[in-house]
Symmetry: C2
Subunit: 396 residues, 2 copies
């Protein structure tokens, strides 16, 4: 992780982040919180007011003595946050405090390739602009479902994104929209979102487990995302959990993703329906001609034993991998998110039971294992955080 | 990890670390390398020379213009580095540049408890003093074979160290020797040592796998040791590798340590010798009445098939766990150390083969898996690094 870069953030960046996270503050409060001499703060602030990114916001409550004036971020500051999933596009426009002012989601197949998908993203952003959601964007943050070279702003050998390998996502979007762009892995932005505005707020070391079509893990250590040497840290979907298990799309056998996750669950559900082992699934299959993880969740909710069993088995597999990772990384919290977190407390209970039984007691003594609070919004929230960090880090 | 603390190191600390790592430097070189204005450097340096920790060291080679004077660390600066293993005490006294000026090792049973062991450490240090290895110590670094609260300087629920739980190791040694003391886990100090003076020099993200009596992992990320929320990160010996495996001392079944490591290997060797499955081991058992990992290594060197098989099986188990950790943390290097790394290339080959086959290709593309360069010295080197960092970080 880029320790130096984060810890020696310039004063202007820390100041803008504070106004983003706390809202309007007086000069006195800013000087206190940033722990800098007042003259230095005033000089910095003057420059930011001059550049128009910060504005006066009326008188502060009195602390005795001369009354201070509040300052705040400019009201029309806008960031774009984009979360590309395997099968979806989610976009939000936020204000300077990262509150959404517009949001839109639609299904999309990431395999359509970068030209089609990014063109669609630009269309959505253009529509927002026409509708008045923004006049200009300070920065765009975008997450993609595969490994990313964070430094270069490009996907790197992404297994489920044909045509995207080293495609200049950052450059293309930046040229199109005339603002800086930051590209990250989709699970990383979810982890950042959950740490910024969700259940993991103020947690130092956190694992964010995304269980969707596939399975991935966001790693948040010492207050920042850890991305690994090649940008593929957290790619746990291909850890072997069963040496006799099914063949995985990656060519190995018994990978976690091959035994659980949206794809595996749909496959097992189909086999069960056709094999006459689940009346609930057979009925759904007859109705819609196909089965998804959603059907298994509904079946379980109705008490179909096979659906319950499929979720339990999956939870045990995930829990087994997670137990090892807990012993290894000794986190302060584990958050479960992604589409299959909709399987809810049945899945959570099974994961917890394995983690608490199998991990080192010292590592689980105070370890909460919880569901994501932001749910499907985790990704866009994280993308907005990255976008604002990027914009605030540039000399204004 | 303590980002703030490391990244905003005061100038004096960075200066002293530079003299430790590079040796004598001119004022001009120091100003260049530390990237500070020359007047500020000179003020700082004057204070350090005044306090006696830094001294003049003759004229520097000319760079044109006025000839500069070299400065260096005081010649009689001394650190003590202590590495407590499950069955050994290793102590080194180093000079300011961390070169050993005295070293001593002896067998010792950590289960004798903190009073006995720390008393013995103090006796060894006292003997060094009498022999003239040091006059006074600037700091002591000590590693212990169990989880440690780095902040509090105490072991925390260490499974193989009865009587040591929250024993005030730092306080006791500090009072006895009148200098600051830093306490860490033994695998962490090995990882630090290997990154400072071994094969992982200048590597950012590194896993140090210690295979000794037990198995543990040092995690070095972004240029610093990652210790986890409770100080027990890297404790991978109890990751389950075989749900049908032998019962482990921890109460679970099929833990990595229960199937491989010094204890497990000795157990398997004994069973093989008694079961008539290995002539080489049977002969050694008859000679000495006991068997250790060393006997298996010797048997393998002589070509005893069962010894080779035991090592290969162990390597595969370790490799399986490591493959998952590589997919998870995407390190730049893996270093194998500890007593059983003496099993050498047979073990290494087996570990490599599993890691390269089972981990994500993107994560293994440029991933060296190598044996420790410092061998049994890795721990004391790391302890000396920690001791000097501590001493240099204090206002002089």
């Amino acid at each position: 992780m880029d320790v130096e870069q984060s810890a020696i953030r310039p004063l202007s960046q820390r100041l803008l982040q504070l106004l983003r996270d706390r809202g309007p503050l007086s000069r006195a409060e800013l000087a206190d919180r940033l722990d800098v001499p007042r003259p230095r703060l005033l000089t910095e602030l003057e420059a930011l007011v001059g550049s128009g990114i910060v504005r006066e916001a009326g008188p502060a409550a009195s602390r005795g003595g001369r009354r201070s004036t509040l300052v705040e971020l400019r009201g029309d500051l806008r960031f774009a946050a984009v979360d590309l999933g395997a099968a979806s596009i989610d976009v939000e426009i936020t204000d300077g405090r990262l509150e959404p002012v517009a949001a839109y989601s639609e299904p999309a197949d990431i395999r359509s390739g970068p030209k089609v998908i990014l063109h669609r993203v630009s269309e959505i952003l253009a529509k927002f602009k026409v509708e008045g959601a923004y006049e200009r964007l300070e920065a765009i943050g975008i997450g993609v479902p595969g490994p990313v070279s964070f430094r270069d702003g490009v996907p790197v050998s992404p297994p489920i994104m044909p045509g995207w390998d080293r495609y200049p996502v950052r450059e293309v979007l930046s040229r199109e929209h005339g603002c800086p762009v930051v590209v990250d892995n989709d699970v990383n932005i979810m982890a950042i979102g959950e740490c910024y505005g969700g259940v993991a707020h103020s947690v130092d070391n956190m694992l964010f487990l995304k269980i969707g079509t596939g399975i991935g893990c966001g790693i948040y250590l010492g207050g920042q995302v850890y991305r690994g040497t090649d940008g593929c840290a957290g790619d746990i979907g291909h850890i072997q959990v069963d040496s006799q298990g099914p063949v995985c799309a990656c060519g190995n056998v018994g990978c976690l993703e091959a035994v659980f996750g949206g794809t595996a669950l749909a496959r097992d559900a189909l086999a069960a329906a056709r094999g006459g082992r689940s009346p609930a699934l057979a009925e759904r299959l007859a109705q819609s001609g196909t089965l998804t993880a959603r059907d298994v969740a509904d079946g379980a909710a109705e008490g179909d034993p096979l659906c319950v069993q499929l979720i339990r088995q999956g939870g045990r597999r995930v829990g087994g991998v997670l137990a090892g990772l807990v012993s290894f990384i000794n986190p302060s919290m584990i958050v479960i998110g992604g589409g299959l977190s909709g399987l809810g407390h049945l899945l959570l209970a099974e994961i917890r039971s394995v983690v608490y039984r199998r991990s080192l007691p010292l590592a689980t003594g105070n370890l909460p294992v919880v569901l994501s609070e932001l749910g499907p919004r985790a990704g866009v929230v994280g993308a907005a955080v990255l976008a604002s960090d990027l914009a605030f880090g540039r000399p204004s």
